[in-house]
Symmetry: C2
Subunit: 152 residues, 2 copies
């Protein structure tokens, strides 16, 4: 990757449709940002996403799997690797001996906050070409798209 240009993301799956083209390419672009910022902290996109979910929640393993749209076994691995690094912790649920709650450690919170700042910086740069008005429209439209679905 030394001599290669970052090459605009050409992941168009439907070049005839401008909306598809725009959203798919934007999606890859944002993922690229998440990957880059995560890499600075040695975090995968999956880990960043999980830590992001845990910012505002202390869910059970099963609820966490639901938030992430993953199988419970995948979530076990994700949480275990993060726990090994001291980013999250499992705590027994006193009301159900089968269940755990997952939560950020202070180190995990610091890390996800650092990532959030980095992502914010990058996204701000990404939308820099837009006017304030256009930015507000963009947020409004995207929020409307996402509204019916309340995912993590």
């Amino acid at each position: 990757m030394t001599s290669m240009q970052p090459a605009p993301n050409e992941a168009e799956v439907s070049p005839a449709n401008a909306m598809v083209d725009a959203l798919v390419q934007l999606s890859f672009r944002v993922h690229e940002v998440l990957g880059k910022i995560g890499a600075e902290q040695d975090l995968s996109v999956a880990q960043i996403r999980m830590l992001g979910v845990l910012r505002d929640r202390e869910p059970s393993m099963l609820a966490l799997a639901g938030h992430l749209g993953l199988d419970k076994s995948s979530t076990t691995g994700l949480v275990s690797r993060a726990e090994k690094r001291g980013l999250v912790q499992r705590a027994r649920d006193p009301h159900d001996g089968r269940s755990f709650t997952v939560s950020l450690t202070s180190r995990g919170r610091a890390l996800v906050n650092a990532c959030a700042r980095g992502v914010e910086r990058e996204i701000d740069g990404l939308v820099a070409p837009l006017s304030d008005h256009a930015r507000r429209q963009l947020v409004s439209h995207v929020s409307e798209i996402l509204a019916p679905r309340r995912d993590g």
Copy 2:
């Protein structure tokens, strides 16, 4: 950018940023769509993306790696798995004995076209809540974000 708070203590850093939230969530939502449509054809997002790139190109392995932002060794695996399924083919470059060109087979093309139709259907559904005017604005703004920077 617009709203600023006197950065609270480390405990609760970085106030919610609507733009970041919107774009990151949208990115995951679109990836979810790609994953779902791909799964119908037994294709991963990475495979769909590669096939999408090959729709309009017959690059060398190295050029393909550049387009995808991956290491050449990762691309070897990606192409080899697709080749094993008869979706792409390697052909020796007559001008450089070290190089191959990668291209879609007719089966690969049929598959990526089917995916494109599926993705278009899903994205159309996603933006259905928006008015025609809002959709045009959205495409315009996103295109501006993704546009190659003319003169820095």
